[in-house]
């Protein structure tokens, strides 16, 4: 249908992230229509990561941009649905939280290849730091924006 990043594979990945985040938010006792929107946010997060990764070939940049997109999404949707913003942000970033590199760093360390292990540990730290940066930037930018809009 379209070129490589916008094909069925990305759509399927979107669907898996969507369903996984729906499960996650139900498990933390979120109720009503919000569950659907957190799921959508999780799907957008993972799909944006994949698409940006395809074009930029840089993992950290794609994590950064995907988290920024999804944080803006949750700032908007949370205000529409009268929900605290952090409830949304908590759920939608879960697909990018570095569980995978955490596992591989542990696995390689146990198998005795410390070189690869330290590479994955570094990955884990960098990804967590990037996620933190992106969340912080969107949160401060939003409060700045709201204050400016309040004044005028």
């Amino acid at each position: 249908m379209f070129g490589r990043p916008f094909d069925l594979l990305t759509l399927m990945q979107f669907a898996w992230a969507f369903l996984a985040i729906i499960g996650f938010s139900l498990r933390s006792n979120l109720k009503g229509w919000r569950v659907l929107f957190t799921g959508l946010g999780g799907g957008i997060c993972w799909a944006a990561y994949l698409i940006i990764l395809y074009f930029s070939k840089s993992m950290l940049l794609s994590v950064f941009l995907a988290i920024i997109i999804v944080c803006i999404y949750s700032e908007v949707v949370a205000r529409l649905m009268a929900t605290p913003v952090s409830v949304f942000v908590m759920c939608v970033i879960i697909p990018l939280v570095p569980g995978r590199s955490l596992y591989y760093s542990m696995l390689f360390y146990i198998n005795g290849s410390s070189g690869q292990a330290s590479r994955y540990i570094f990955d884990t730290l960098m990804i967590s730091g990037t996620i933190a940066m992106a969340i912080a930037i969107v949160a401060s930018a939003t409060s700045l924006f709201l204050r400016i809009r309040h004044r005028f």
């Binding site: 990945q13 898996w16 992230a17 369903l19 996984a20 985040i21 729906i22 499960g23 996650f24 938010s25 139900l26 498990r27 933390s28 006792n29 979120l30 109720k31 919000r34 993972w46 009268a82 929900t83 605290p84 952090s86 409830v87 942000v89 908590m90 759920c91 970033i93 879960i94 697909p95 939280v97 569980g99 995978r100 955490l102 596992y103 591989y104 760093s105 542990m106 696995l107 360390y109 146990i110 967590s128 996620i131 933190a132 969340i135 912080a136 949160a139 401060s140």
Partner: protein
Amino acid sequence: MNKINLQECSQLALETGRIILQSGGATNRVELMMRKVCEGFGYDDCESFVTPTGIFFSLSDGEANITTRIKRIENRRIDLGKITQVSQLVNCLQDAKCPIMTHTQSRSKEFLKELQRIDGESPYPMWVTNLCGGATSGFFCLLFGGSWIEFLIAFFIGIIISASLKYISRLPVNNFLLNAIASALIVLLAKTIDTWVPYIRLDNIIIGGIMILVPGLALTNAIRDTMSGDLVSGTARGVEAIIITIAIVAGSGTMLKLWALLGY
């Protein structure tokens, strides 16, 4: 506006703060909500200092009377539904026509009753949360490139982990041990199933299980707390996230090594 007692107002504010903090809300959210409750009942002069494990709260009526309370917060568990409901209720205080509060009786009594209803509201039944844990684990396994058989196994492991997390958390174990035991259990189950079912890759299954335990919530709260200037609780939550991570790694690593020593 009929003014209520100073003691009563601080009681209501503290109860609001306790519910939000116990359900895993951010610190400055708790402070904001407590301030809103006080303003809603006509006391503008309140100060609060909130950390993840306790609330210090002081309320003054603008004259000589000051009341101060301290509340210790124990057994926190994530409950996003309660945070949402309490926030909506508090925002209702400023709004004259609000569907939640009917204004048939005194406002403070109604507010307290509504808070107690939210606090006592039962979460989803256990089979739903277990099934959702299974779905989370299974779909994360697919997301990281698992096949359909691996999906089924990860689904099964997710259900078992969700159920056993509930049972283990009833025992007097701390958060570190809880996560370590759960991640060890994931590896144990995956390895056991691996001996019977041929041609599966364990990596995706174990990662899917670990994604249930990963401290994304603590991480988010730590960042948001630090950014809003609450350095104490930001640091505390950051350390919580690191400790949970270490627990996951330690638990699953120990079990993998033990299994390797057994020689399978």
